[in-house]
């Protein structure tokens, strides 16, 4: 595809999401789909972070910790300090990135299964911390978080107060889709610039990368920080939508799901985590009718998919491209 074609298809995709989907939903009256699709958009932002850590050769099962942290940062700032939600969104991301730098400095020296294990622990530590620390209000969590307020810059209202809207669900959906588009645009640019090649060089051989002059610890920290930033803003958006935050909002199971989203979509494709999240989320819902067998069938399909398509769903189109 040429650059123009790529831009055109990106805009077409956005148009479908922002115009097509709302029209379809209003025609069918399935307004519950807004919540589902919003979740997919936000989860794919969080998964994109995990994907980036995969891209530097690290298996990250700790993204739940940063999503949880981001959610709490936003919830606490909004409820206790009266900060505008729109301001807490970048703050949550930046605080998570800062925390990930501190955590990453020691643990990013680890590779393979050791890094995976430590990050897995991180997810659990975050949950236990949220249970124990007074500011997070323990197991009772933070509830009744007000909806995002008006965002004005120089007196111009950019985003109206969500509480005054007739359909806040649509507003959340549009916001999340735009945020997702922005994050994936940035990720796409990152991966297709020289930085992406550097990340790939780390993934393949850190010794060789440092021998050609790549500051590997800096790149590792940078990628992990961006990853956690995405986790943080995703978590903060979730807190705003559900208007509540509990220690159990993001746990080990979620961290594993983020990782599975990346696997399923494809670790070699920027859009992999987005597709993976969509398929996994809807796949799980579609299997709901199978009742007690839901998890069994779901896991079996996952195992088969990973065996048959080790490079993810997006790898299907590759052979076709080569022929043409």
């Amino acid at each position: 595809m040429t650059t123009q074609q790529k831009i055109a298809s990106a805009f077409a995709f956005l148009a479908v999401l922002l115009v097509g989907v709302p029209l379809l939903i209003s025609a069918t009256g399935r307004s519950d789909l807004y919540y589902t699709l919003t979740s997919v958009a936000l989860l794919s932002i969080i998964s994109a972070g995990v994907w980036l850590t995969f891209y530097i050769g690290r298996i990250n099962i700790g993204q739940g910790a940063f999503a949880l942290m981001g959610g709490y940062v936003s919830a606490i700032l909004v409820t206790q300090y009266g900060v505008s939600f729109w301001l807490t969104l970048p703050i949550a991301g930046l605080l998570c990135a800062a925390a990930s730098v501190l955590i990453g400095l020691p643990i990013l020296r680890l590779r393979g299964v050791y890094f995976a294990m430590v990050t897995l622990t991180l997810s659990e530590v975050a949950r236990l911390t949220a249970l124990a620390v007074p500011i997070t209000n323990g197991a009772k969590g933070i509830v009744n978080i007000p909806l995002p307020s008006r965002l004005t810059i120089f007196g111009i209202t950019l985003i109206p107060d969500f509480a005054t809207l007739a359909n806040p669900r649509l507003a959340f959906y549009v916001t999340s889709v735009l945020l997702m588009a922005l994050c994936y645009l940035a990720l796409y640019r990152l991966v297709n610039s020289r930085i992406g090649r550097i990340c790939q060089s780390l993934q393949q051989n850190e010794e060789l990368a440092s021998s050609i002059g790549v500051n590997i610890s800096y790149i590792r920290i940078l990628a992990f920080a961006i990853s956690s930033f995405l986790g943080g803003i995703g978590g903060a958006m979730f807190a705003a939508i559900t208007q509540s935050m509990y220690p159990s909002s993001f746990g080990v199971a979620d961290s594993i799901n983020f990782m599975l989203n990346c696997f399923l979509g494809g670790l070699g494709y920027v859009l992999g985590p987005m597709l993976g999240t969509f398929v996994l989320y809807f796949g799980w819902d579609l299997l709901f009718q199978t009742g007690v067998f839901q998890l069994l069938i779901y896991s079996s399909i996952l195992i088969i998919l990973m065996l048959v398509l080790p490079n993810g769903l997006l790898s299907i189109r590759l052979p076709r491209q080569k022929q043409s």
């Binding site: 020289r194 790939q200 393949q204 440092s210």
Partner: protein, 259 residues
């Protein structure tokens, strides 16, 4: 020629094992210096010490009078001392061209943010890297494999790619780890020409090698290690005639020295 590298009193212990013991020698600018010795003599450790992949227990390595021991490897590479690896250490799932392009990292004038936003400097960098990459690929005779995945390259060309990656960093000193290992006669002859060519580009070459005829053919000077100690240093002629080397390293097998 002035000294470009000065290795003085270099010692490295791993627990009770002394891998390198009080090794000192200098490397002159634009010379080809080989480090030889039997297996386990400490050649690879010496290379890691020079490229600062490990820190010495005592002693130091100076590059143009400046201490480089203890610095991070990427900083040493930035100063101009670059190491290539034994066997097939390359970026396997990238094409030959991408391998060499990424290795131009050190020549970037734009910073990471510049590359992200595609600034004019970054675009100039990319254009320059592409030009230089093609030149290096042609120089090493890899032109036919330009767009091949690195993992698909035949054995001899893999080493050429390793050298190409090293050259792309624009080194002043290039450390080659066994560049002729596993090569047949014809491949070795070509590889020797390549290493000479590298020197012609103004690069000082240090190599660790087992292939004695090749070493004798190519080296200006040779340093011999045995059990972690330097036992001799000199021209190929001197080394071939050195009784300590013959006794300690080669025993009675004179032909291994190419005599």
């Amino acid at each position: 020629m002035p000294d470009i590298l000065e290795i003085s009193g270099l010692t490295k212990r791993f627990g009770g094992l002394v891998a390198n013991n009080d090794i000192s020698f200098t490397v002159k600018e634009r010379e080809i210096l080989s480090v030889i010795g039997p297996n386990g003599a400490g050649k690879s450790t010496l290379f890691k010490l020079i490229a600062s992949f490990v820190s010495p227990t005592s002693g130091e390595v100076c590059f143009r009078g400046q201490r480089i021991s203890g610095l991070a490897p990427h900083k040493v590479a930035r100063m101009g001392v670059v190491r290539t690896f034994q066997e097939t250490t390359i970026f396997k799932t990238m094409t030959v061209r991408d391998n060499v392009i990424i290795a131009h990292h050190l020549r970037s004038r734009a910073n990471l943010a510049g590359f992200f936003f595609g600034t004019r400097t970054a675009q100039q960098d990319e254009a320059e890297f592409a030009r230089s990459t093609d030149e290096i690929i042609d120089f090493l005779g890899l032109g036919a494999y330009r767009h091949e995945l690195a993992s698909n390259l035949p054995h001899g060309h893999l080493r050429a790619l390793g050298i190409a990656i090293g050259l792309a960093t624009n080194p002043q000193v290039l450390l080659l780890d066994e560049p002729f290992a596993g090569m047949n006669h014809e491949e070795t002859r070509r590889a020797i020409e390549i290493v000479r060519g590298v020197r012609e580009r103004g690069v000082t070459v240090l190599l660790v090698e087992h292939d004695m005829p090749a070493v004798m053919n190519i080296s200006d000077r040779i340093v011999v290690l045995n059990f972690g100690q330097k036992i001799a240093e000199g021209t190929p002629q001197e080394i071939q005639e050195n009784p300590t080397v013959i006794e300690a390293y080669l025993g009675a097998e004179d032909e291994a020295l190419g005599i």
